[in-house]
């Protein structure tokens, strides 16, 4: 039995409406790093919310360690796309709020030292008393990473965590997340729209065919040694092959979609009447 399993999951938002996700089957082993790559609007966030428990599947089942997922749980930490920090709390308070909920029995001093450790891990100790508004996008996402990890979840679910960041900050944060993941090998699920990010970080990449009726495509294994090096990777033949295969696959999906959109629509006959002689 896999660590996380999705069996024939379907999701519709309106009863009897069109399916956003259709027939999703996914299984992730413990300690694995899986990336799901897809176009924007393909139902990625819906998939994440099904796994973290914010949404329930319309049909099918989501199993976490063999048990159906009902509601959210501290075992699955979530890093949201738009940071979702509470703007009226400082960095420390934002993280502390999560830690307090995860370890209700610990003393205040213990909680504070956990917070300090994780803030230090994402290199934000100098900004610990600042509010999110005073931080850059990259720093805010670091806080969100610290908040999710400080709860010591068994699985980390990341919903396009780096989507809103510039390329340089992105690279930095990718390394940081990999570092943290490598330390205690938690299971990780990354949702992204960047193929290179997926290849650099994950063990497996699964494309999501765009919705409506989004479903998962065939998986691609990434057989690169860790730790990976971005510049070396570019010359690695196996990297090139995988990357081309994934991009080709995604391009094909994109073309299919375009072709669908281009099916000729019969235009109404709107030839103007002749007004000659009538004026």
């Amino acid at each position: 039995m896999a660590y996380l399993e999705l069996n024939n999951v379907h999701k519709t938002y309106i009863e009897g409406g069109e399916e956003v996700l259709s027939n999703i089957n996914l299984s992730i082993e413990e300690g694995e790093f899986v990336a799901i790559v897809g176009f924007t609007g393909s139902g990625k966030t819906t998939l994440v919310n099904l796994i973290n428990g914010l949404l329930e599947p319309t049909r099918g089942e989501v199993l976490f360690k063999g048990q159906p997922v009902v509601g959210t749980s501290h075992e699955r930490g979530v890093i949201f796309q738009n940071y979702s920090l509470l703007p009226w709390l400082t960095v420390e308070q934002n993280v502390l709020m999560a830690v307090k909920e995860a370890f209700p029995k610990k003393s205040k001093a213990e909680l504070k030292s956990i917070v300090a450790d994780y803030v230090d891990m994402v290199k934000l100790t100098p900004a610990i008393n600042k509010r999110p508004k005073e931080l850059s996008g990259g720093m805010r996402q670091r806080v969100a990473v610290a908040r999710a990890l400080a709860m010591k979840p068994e699985m980390i679910i990341m919903d396009e965590p780096l989507g809103a960041l510039d390329a340089l900050t992105r690279g930095d944060l990718q390394d940081e997340i990999l570092n943290i993941w490598g330390k205690d090998k938690r299971t990780a699920l990354l949702i992204t729209n960047d193929v290179d990010e997926g290849i650099y970080m994950a063990d497996r990449i699964i494309p999501l065919r765009p919705g409506p009726k989004a479903t998962l495509g065939p998986e691609f294994k990434i057989d690169l040694e860790r730790p990976r090096d971005k510049t070396e990777m570019n010359d690695n033949p196996s990297y090139k092959k995988t990357r081309n295969a994934i991009i080709e696959y995604l391009m094909d999906i994109g073309n299919e979609r375009k072709a669908e959109a281009l099916t000729p629509i019969e235009l109404p006959d709107l030839a103007p009447k002749s007004f000659v002689g009538q004026l």
Partner: protein, 368 residues
């Protein structure tokens, strides 16, 4: 240095940011742009105030002349040339018995303001003397378990202002303690929202006068055995009921429209209901709650005059009404004094709310 920073912050909080340019003017650190800002923020308001006073003065003078001509003509028609001349001489002499009674000029209003302050000084002295005189007697009476003798002379203008402020403050607190908790419950529960919606929609537009009458009906019966003056109770409850709607609606709206991301965070962190309300929902709706409270306070101050007048509660409202009924020589000027005092206190109350809002809420709001 530190002190000047805090001073600058405080003045900015109060919406008096131009003070910092004024400070720069004196310390000589004034760039060209600062000077322009100084012109716009300080000189322009002062110039417009002077212009306002000028127009007021001219208008008052024109109205005075119309009234004076009418008086002289009337004397001429009714009693002949000699009486008309006498009337004209009387008006010119400034005798208070024959002054035309119209819109008072700025100078008259200023004079009335000073006379009201003098009057306050006299009454305060009188009160102090009374207290001294009755101190020994009152001590005896208290020892015997009797009520002490209290001063029952007429209140001064300042006493009336204080009374009005107390009424508004009590009414505002009443509105706060009813509207904020109720608003939170309505915002959280669609069922309660449906239950209260008709109620809010119907009672929100009801006039202060009707609220006063309603409160009067109820309080009169409740306090039927009490010999005490119920005008304060009636007026502050009416003020609270009139003004609480803005806070109620804003709180409910703020609570029900919390950003979905924050709710998701609360769910993922598995916050309890109590924690969710106090750590997530309330802080995020504070800006809207404060907008409501600000409206509530200004509405409370606005309806106060009408309600004090009806309730015969000795505050500014009653002052205005009594001066109008009085019809004395300087009554009109005193009414205008009251108008300015009401306006300025209303402005200060609004700034006070802005100050409190900016010190507790995460969104900084600028003064308008």
């Amino acid at each position: 240095m530190k002190q000047s920073i805090t001073l600058g912050k405080v003045s900015k909080f109060m919406g008096l940011g131009f003070l910092s340019t004024l400070k720069n003017l004196f310390t000589g650190k004034l760039s060209k742009e600062d000077f322009r800002a100084f012109l716009r923020k300080t000189i322009v308001p002062i110039a417009s105030i002077l212009l306002f006073l000028g127009i007021w003065h001219m208008g008052a003078k024109a109205l005075y002349n119309v009234e004076a001509d009418f008086k002289i003509n009337k004397a001429l028609e009714e009693r002949g040339q000699a009486a008309a001349d006498e009337e004209a001489a009387c008006i010119a002499s400034g005798d208070s018995t024959c002054q035309p009674n119209s819109l008072p000029s700025p100078a008259q209003v200023w004079g009335s303001f000073k006379s009201l302050l003098r009057d306050h000084g006299i009454i305060s002295a009188d009160k102090a003397a009374f207290k001294e005189k009755t101190a020994a007697l009152n001590a005896k009476r208290v020892a015997k378990g009797e009520e002490p003798i209290v001063y029952t002379g007429r209140p001064s203008f300042v006493d009336q202002i204080i009374r009005s402020l107390k009424t508004v403050f009590a009414g505002f607190l009443l509105a706060l303690f009813i509207a904020v908790p109720l608003g939170i419950f309505i915002g959280l529960s669609p069922t309660l929202k449906a239950a209260f919606n008709w109620f809010i929609q119907i009672f929100k537009p009801v006039s202060p006068v009707v609220w006063y009458l309603l409160v009067f009906m109820i309080v009169k019966t409740l306090l039927i055995d009490s010999s005490e003056d119920s005008s304060f109770t009636i007026s502050f409850i009416s003020v609270g009921l009139c003004s609480m709607w803005a806070t109620l609606v804003n709180t409910a709206m703020g609570v029900s429209s919390v950003d979905k991301d924050y709710i998701n965070v609360a769910k993922v962190l598995k916050l309890g209901t109590f924690q969710k309300i106090f750590k997530v929902i309330l802080p995020s709706s504070l800006p809207l709650i404060f907008t409501g409270l600000k409206i509530t306070l200004s509405v409370a101050w606005m309806v106060l005059i009408a309600i004090e007048l009806l309730a015969q509660s000795p505050g500014l409202g009653l002052f205005v009404w009594e001066e109008f009924q009085n019809g004395a020589n300087d009554s009109n000027a005193k009414i205008i004094v009251a108008m300015f005092v009401i306006g300025i206190i209303g402005f200060l109350l609004d700034r006070l709310m802005l100050f409190i809002q900016n010190s507790v809420s995460f969104v900084k709001t600028d003064a308008i």
